[in-house]
């Protein structure tokens, strides 16, 4: 493949983006207000709090959990999250015996409607290279220890299916409100690199 223009654009990404933006606006190919709208959407509206709502509801409502596992795209859409990079969802459930982790070794596929844009580490070479071959060492980096008899399932997002981990509920979830549960759900637990941390049960 040609890299002809490589040396012709500024190497400083800030200048590079500025030049590209002004060019595309001048060409009439991009509306600057559209760029602001897109940034606002992914910086303030679409993020992991969406996924936390889905998880908390699944813990509290067995009917919804069933729906979520059987028809994940529809179930997630029923609470308002759908669209780009989440067109075909699959939810994988963590249990006492099974721990799921999601990766995209080939690029950075990630379920945007429920988790927003991926964190830097998810897109990084260290995570993408190692989690498929040595997931336990990756989990350790996140402070996650699993018993030896727990089966680890790594999901490599090589298609447009988007994987989303339903973490194990905290032990006393029945005594907690939906809001309390939601606030306990971390982004990392929905990628599968952490478990839910229950501050009260921490040993």
């Amino acid at each position: 493949m040609s890299t002809h223009h490589h040396s012709t654009v500024p190497s400083d990404p800030e200048l590079r983006v500025k030049a590209l933006e002004s060019l595309l606006v001048e060409k009439g190919l991009v509306d600057p207000k559209t760029l602001d709208e897109l940034v606002d959407l992914y910086e303030t509206k679409i993020g992991p709090r969406n996924g936390a709502k889905v998880v908390a509801k699944a813990w509290k409502d067995p009917e919804f959990k069933k729906y979520l596992l059987e028809k994940p795209t529809d179930a997630i859409a029923s609470i308002g999250y759908r669209g780009r990079q989440g067109e075909h969802m699959r939810v994988v459930e963590n249990t006492a015996d099974i721990h799921n982790i999601v990766v995209c070794t080939l690029c950075s596929c990630y379920p945007w409607p429920v988790l927003g844009l991926p964190p830097v580490w998810y897109k990084s070479a260290p995570y993408r290279s190692r989690v498929v071959s040595d997931p336990r060492s990756v989990l350790e980096e996140f402070g996650t220890q699993l018993a030896e008899d727990v089966e680890i399932r790594v999901w490599d997002s090589t298609s447009e299916m988007r994987y989303f981990v339903l973490p194990e509920a905290p032990a006393d979830f029945q005594n907690k409100s939906l809001d309390e549960l939601e606030s306990m759900v971390t982004r990392n637990s929905m990628i599968g690199v952490e478990k839910i941390k229950d501050p009260e049960n921490r040993s």
Partner: protein
């Protein structure tokens, strides 16, 4: 193509060193905001598809791919596609100035600010119809073919030649190798379960499975 993007199982990249979740910003630099928005806005002109977009990033020189940050790779891919598809000229890219406005037909396709939300919410399904019945059933033993196309593929290197079990059939989806060449055709897509020992050698700790989504033409009966 076998290049730097195909990272599964590579060694030597060091620790992941994740930032703490509650203090990591969505964007780390102001220019990253614009990079993301430009990629999405330009993509919505409909002049290239997702797999062409992926190929434009992964076909960079592997040293560039690994050295650049993720959004820089996105920028490189976008610049390349804009020139390849004739939306801007190299000279315009070099100068950061337009010599002429885009064609009117193209300008009509520009994503309007009030359409952003509905466009994102609509997304783009890759589910397709296929005239052919699926060749494999759940539980079948299959082998990922040992193939090395010079063009785009979503069959990761570490799966090639390895045997696994069909775990799910997702119906027919847009076939990425063809899509990157501009041919939108549907092909049966499966989730294949591999034992880590099959992928990484018999000394690999057990209780470790890897699930990889693979299209029918990536697979053969084992």
């Amino acid at each position: 193509m076998n290049s730097a993007h195909d990272l599964g199982g590579r060694h030597g990249f060091g620790p992941i060193a994740p930032e703490a979740e509650n203090s990591e910003p969505v964007f780390h630099e102001d220019w990253e905001r614009k990079a993301l928005a430009l990629v999405l806005a330009a993509g919505s002109l409909g002049q290239w598809n997702l797999d062409e977009s992926r190929f434009s990033r992964e076909s960079q020189h592997p040293v560039d791919y690994l050295r650049q940050s993720y959004y820089e790779n996105w920028l490189s891919g976008l610049e390349k596609l804009l020139v390849e598809k004739g939306l801007v000229t190299e000279q315009e890219l070099f100068n950061g100035r337009a010599f002429s406005k885009a064609e009117e037909e193209l300008q009509k396709r520009v994503l309007q600010p009030e359409k952003v939300y509905s466009t994102i919410e609509k997304g783009g399904s890759t589910q397709m119809e296929s005239d052919e019945p699926p060749e494999f059933n759940i539980g079948d033993r299959v082998r990922a073919k040992n193939r090395h196309p010079l063009t785009h593929t979503r069959e990761p290197g570490y799966s090639r030649g390895r045997e696994g079990i069909i775990e799910a059939h997702y119906g027919a989806h847009v076939m990425p190798d063809q899509n990157a060449l501009g041919n939108r055709i549907g092909e049966h897509l499966y989730c294949v379960r591999f034992d880590a020992g099959e992928l990484w050698g018999k000394d690999t700790p057990s209780k470790h499975l890897v699930f990889i989504d693979l299209w029918e033409s990536y697979l053969e009966r084992a």
